[in-house]
Symmetry: C2
Subunit: 316 residues, 2 copies
């Protein structure tokens, strides 16, 4: 049975003692500049600095004692790895994270600092999955997939669930970046199954240089193999099977944006909201900057996915 | 009659339709690292990116129509200038800001973007005051002093007033940076005149390279002339007469910290809280990092003063 908003509500009950209910932020200067009204769900301020804490926490706190004793394993370009390490430490279960060797240093450091074992691999989905399979066989550890997993999708959906309770006015659009599709899928479930949001559009935003979700959304066939090449390191995963189903059913559109625009949007968010967001989190604002006419006068909630990056190597 | 918490409450009633009630932020990683429990009042997310919006708004919204028609003038290393320009624009009164020529470009740009006229001068208090006097004579404009003004002190105190209503648990200490003493003075008034905070200490933090408040606090004689040389550009003012009186009466201690530690603290806040703070805002955390033993196990509220700086010229 496909998951629904009920699973997201269950997830929220399970994880809310452990996560932050992150604030909603606005900037009138930014609204003036872009010609629309933006409200930001600041999940860059979530535990481990990313929404990924939600899904990982839901997965690990759903495990029984027997599985916990054998540990958890995952592959991640960074934030899910840190999130799983953080959640695993709370339940005292061993955690191994397979990371592409081009992941940002700040993300590698974070995974290690939360107590996980890190194994590096080539930066392709095939290499990530093969390395994980080897580790699962060796230790009997459970895979906590970074996105293609019902518990993960339900967990990530809690960001949108909190958002709709925090909103002071209705929204026309909810936007989220799309990498593997956990956040966008979970968010779409929440919006499309909530009373009062019947006319709210759900729009994903993706880098042109990692446009597998956009391709699949438009052709109807999921792109399973893809080598992304984007500064938005959190969006380098390929949309999962479960995620693709949910996105196809519930998402209204996916927009693409360029690398230069992502950097511009990131700097604009830093300057106007006074918060640190990583490139991936800036992708929805970049998409709005690309086609401001389409968003003119609309009220838009944007989920800021994370704030982890190397402060010594900024892209400007 | 010296001002009291009643003036701060009046100020809050006057300005709250125009300002943000900024969020309180925490990081368990940061607490673990420093061995104490820190709650941050994020006034870097205030209008114009600094607590200065509070005082300027209180001053301008206290003016009568006759004074408004002649305009306002001030001197400021940046944030008060932007705040006054912002507040003046809301009341459609002309605004001139005298700025030291070494103010950060981002702050110069902000003052201009809010519609004020900028006049540059040498980076000394004497030059700032002389230039303002000339302008006042010429236009009949009212001086809105950046800190040595009862309405400004009362306005800045509203950050602490909001803080005590937002706290979920009592605090042992409230800390704020000290430049001219508007924020520290206003905060001290609020804490020392609020029921339930009898045992809360108020501590100022100041760069060693701009230690005029510390000198005056310890000698009992205000330092009136001083050439500061600190990266914390918001703290380059010299403590005002009214401010010095309040600080001497109500503040428990002033701590000094080094330039290197300020940069280290700033980067730590960026990394752990995922927010942009300017060097001045990091001074209290820097002081805690200098002597962690003194703060071990204490619960401390820190007012983050601002988040305006040149993102193209970071100090690391």
């Amino acid at each position: 049975m496909p998951i629904s908003i009920a699973d997201v509500i269950d997830a929220h009950e399970r994880i809310k003692p452990h996560i932050h209910c992150t604030p909603m932020l606005q900037s009138s200067q930014l609204n003036k500049l872009l010609g629309c009204e933006l409200v930001f769900k600041a999940d860059n301020m979530q535990k481990v600095g990313a929404f990924k804490a939600r899904g990982a926490c839901n997965a690990v706190f759903s495990m029984d004692q027997d599985s916990l004793s054998r540990g958890v394993v995952t592959h991640s370009s960074g934030n899910h790895g840190a999130a799983l390490a953080w959640a695993a430490a709370m339940r005292k279960t061993p955690c191994t994270v397979v990371m592409p060797d081009n992941a940002p240093q700040a993300k590698k450091d974070a995974v290690i600092s939360y107590g996980a074992t890190v194994v590096f691999c080539e930066p392709t989905m095939t290499a990530r999955e093969a390395t994980v399979a080897t580790l699962m066989e060796k230790d009997g550890a459970s895979l906590v997939h970074p996105y293609d997993d019902d518990l993960i999708i339900a967990g990530q959906g809690t960001a949108a669930l909190e958002t709709i309770t925090q909103l002071e006015q209705p929204i026309d659009i909810l936007m989220a970046p799309v990498g593997g599709g956990g956040l966008l899928g979970g968010s779409a479930l929440v919006i499309k199954q909530s009373l009062g949001f019947e006319s709210t559009q759900v729009i994903g935003a993706e880098p042109e240089m990692a446009n597998d979700a956009w391709q699949g959304f438009n052709s109807g066939v999921r792109v399973a193999k893809f080598v992304p090449n984007t500064i938005a390191d959190g969006l380098r995963g390929t949309v999962g099977i479960r995620n693709f189903e949910i996105i196809t059913e519930h998402v209204d559109n996916i927009l693409l944006t360029s690398e230069a625009r992502i950097v511009e949007a990131m700097k604009l968010i830093w300057t106007r909201l006074k918060i640190i967001v990583e490139p991936s989190a800036a992708v929805p604002v970049a998409a709005i900057m690309d086609q401001p006419d389409q968003f003119q006068g609309r009220r838009i909630a944007i989920i800021l996915s994370g704030g982890n990056l190397d402060l010594d190597h900024l892209p400007w």
